[in-house]
């Protein structure tokens, strides 16, 4: 067990492409850090740099006290779960799990004990004699996990391990990974592009974009105080409504908007953010410091427990999504008024997208 720290880490490919820019992340012992971002944001590259599969151009990667930049992957005492599982197709499940232990010269009876123990935890004991091709996707995933845990490494690395599973299995495995990681207390780095997976798993959530860290912190911090419009729209589903507003006398000015007094809009305007789930249907006037939005309903998605209501405001393609509890009986074409209270409003710089104030 050890903490993992990255300081001022960069990756520049020959040819000058900078895939990872100046990254600082510190993961305490036993914590699960999730790297999330759209494809091409550098999250997988960063993970592979920690694993030693990519060289680190600049900066330090430390596991425990030691700097591991120049160590071979085999000497870093890490285990990795790959997206395609990377199980050795010519070996049985048992041999797949024992391979890493054998390479390190672990005594035979200890290998046996550790593999059996891991198989028991992951409920794959009946399949130990099978080859990977005779397993289902979920079972292969468990074997890949098993291969990682038998080694008792300092750090687990997960590279989108659930993206090849169907939706139901993904949720089930997500819970199991979390439980397992807690039980074993192994410091972990987990890469995903799925923000829900990221939110539910992370102790530390790192949102990446174009090679740099947009924001890092606890998942709820990121949800409540996104540092930029990028994080605001990436975390949460459906994404936060982002509305360009001008500076009015008493607050934001935009078509369809009322209230919002007390919001300090810079003279050049700003981007106003409000999450769909913070919009409530109102009848009658909206308090001055709350934000009121009136729009014609263009589409309604009722999913049972909640209803998503869509509609345009301002006539320039700007769309609003409201996430209303229960079954909201709204017909397309009718106007609806919704409002959000002051503490649920976010302001971002209209040029840089950075959070303003608070």
């Amino acid at each position: 067990m050890a903490e993992l720290s990255l300081s001022r880490v960069r990756k520049v490919y020959p040819g000058g492409v900078e895939a990872v820019k100046d990254i600082d992340i510190a993961i305490p012992d036993g914590a699960l850090c999730v790297l999330v971002g759209p494809s091409g944001c550098g999250k997988s590259t960063l993970l592979r740099m920690i694993a030693g599969l990519e060289t680190i151009t600049e900066g330090d990667c430390r596991i425990g006290a030691g700097r591991v930049n120049d160590l071979d992957p085999s000497d870093r005492d890490i285990a990795m779960v790959f997206q395609n599982y990377a199980l050795y197709p010519h070996m049985t499940v048992y041999d797949n799990m024992a391979y890493g232990l054998r390479n390190r010269g672990t005594p035979k009876d200890e290998i046996e004990a550790r593999v059996q123990e891991a198989a028991r935890i992951l409920e794959i004991s009946p399949f130990l004699d099978r080859k990977p091709r005779a397993l289902s996707g979920g079972q292969r995933q468990r074997v890949a996990m098993g291969r990682a845990i038998v080694r008792k490494p300092q750090v687990f690395l997960f590279d989108e391990p659930l993206s090849n599973l169907d939706a139901k299995l993904r949720i089930q495995m997500r819970v199991e990974i979390k439980k397992l990681q807690r039980a074993l207390g192994v410091t972990s780095v987990y890469v995903t592009h799925d923000q829900l997976e990221a939110m539910t798993l992370a102790d530390i959530l790192v949102v990446m974009s174009k090679g740099h860290v947009e924001q890092q912190g606890s998942p709820l911090d990121l949800y409540e105080k996104p540092a930029s419009t990028f994080v605001a729209s990436f975390i949460g589903a459906p994404p936060m409504n982002l509305i360009p507003v001008g500076a009015g006398e008493n607050g934001p000015q935009a078509a369809g908007l009322t209230g919002g007094r007390g919001l300090a809009i810079p003279p050049g305007g700003a981007t106003l953010g409000v999450r769909p789930e913070h919009l409530m249907v109102v009848a009658g006037p909206v308090p001055d410091d709350s934000l009121g939005i009136t729009f014609p309903v263009s589409a309604v998605e009722a999913v049972g427990a909640e209803t998503f209501v869509y509609g345009p405001i301002g006539g320039n393609g700007q769309e609003i999504i409201a996430r209303l509890p229960g079954k909201a009986l709204l017909a397309p074409g009718t106007p609806v008024s919704v409002a959000a209270t002051a503490e649920h409003l976010h302001l971002f710089d209209s040029q840089t997208g950075k959070r303003l104030g608070q």
């Binding site: 694993a51 030693g52 599969l53 071979d72 992957p73 085999s74 870093r76 890490i78 285990a79 990795m80 790959f82 997206q83 395609n84 990377a86 050795y88 197709p89 010519h90 391979y99 890493g100 390479n103 390190r104 080859k131 091709r133 291969r147 080694r151």
Partner: protein, 293 residues
């Protein structure tokens, strides 16, 4: 999941297959049939008298010590050629797999020998090992190794072995390289993280995963060594000195077309055919089962 595609045309498939079938019929089944028929006949060199003798030709051939010696030599030669062409090819492919820059040039250079006619390849090696002026033989003699394929049977055998294997390396190289490149990179990475260093990774992961390719090449190279090395041997040694480099295919040709004993020559050809068919069947039956995981 696979859905069978059904074409409504009845004639077209046969038309498309016809050229291949015609070639196989004319150049394989017809001569093979003739060889089998002729192997049961005894005829004089000028073809005036032909007599059906059943399996007597086979009996005579299989009881001939010279033939049995040739058979033994052929097996040694064939497995030698196969090993000598596959092992360096694998080594080169492993190296080439790691090359990033100039990979195409490297590949092209390595494949060129395959495009050289057997007789030319033979002549090339003949020159290199020419006892008095050969580029290889001369320095060898200077350091005290008297290399003379014209006199020494073992020396001659080594030259034809090298020449035959060398021609095949490019072909094997290409297949090995393709095989290596089809192994998912993540498997190698997983093995690296699992603590296996380069050489151990090769023997525990890469080599086993390459086994379908290795198996395929084994069949192809043995067949090549049995049949297609005639040109090299004919150009380099004509089976000599003595009979030291005479292999089955060369003997069949020699006995039939030089010694004019068509019946026994045909019997030899038929035996050779069955040896290769047998080897291939054994390989597919017993080895293939183990290599496809």
């Amino acid at each position: 999941m696979e859905r069978k595609v059904v074409f409504p045309q009845k004639l077209l498939p046969y038309l498309l297959l016809a050229p291949q079938i015609a070639i196989t019929l004319v150049f394989f089944f017809w001569p093979a049939g003739q060889a089998i028929w002729m192997s049961t006949l005894l005829q004089d060199p000028l073809g005036f008298s032909v007599q059906f003798v059943g399996l007597e030709n086979f009996q005579a051939v299989l009881q001939d010590p010279a033939y049995l010696a040739t058979m033994q030599r052929t097996f040694l030669f064939s497995f030698g050629v196969t090993a000598l062409s596959m092992i360096p090819a694998l080594l080169l492919a492993v190296m080439a797999d790691r090359v990033v820059r100039g990979a195409t040039a490297y590949k092209t250079i390595l494949v060129i020998p395959y495009a050289i006619a057997p007789a030319v390849a033979g002549a090339l090696w003949l020159f290199l090992f020419q006892p008095s002026i050969g580029t290889i033989a001369y320095p060898l003699r200077l350091i005290g190794i008297d290399w003379n394929p014209r006199i020494d049977g073992t020396d001659a055998m080594i030259v034809v072995l090298i020449a035959s294997a060398w021609k095949q390396i490019g072909y094997n190289f290409l297949f090995f390289l393709a095989g290596l490149q089809s192994i998912p990179k993540s498997l190698i990475e997983a093995a690296a993280i699992d603590g296996a260093r380069e050489i151990r990774r090769f023997w525990t992961i890469v080599f086993p995963l390459l086994s379908p390719t290795t198996f395929f090449l084994l069949v192809v190279n043995l067949t090549y060594a049995f049949f297609d090395t005639f040109g090299v041997i004919h150009a380099v040694t004509q089976g000599g000195p003595g009979k030291s480099t005479e292999v089955l295919i060369y003997k069949a040709w020699y006995d039939g077309l030089i010694a004019q004993d068509l019946g026994r020559s045909s019997a030899q050809a038929v035996i050779l055919m069955f040896i290769v068919i047998g080897l291939t069947v054994i390989q597919f039956r017993y080895i293939e089962r183990k290599v496809h995981y």
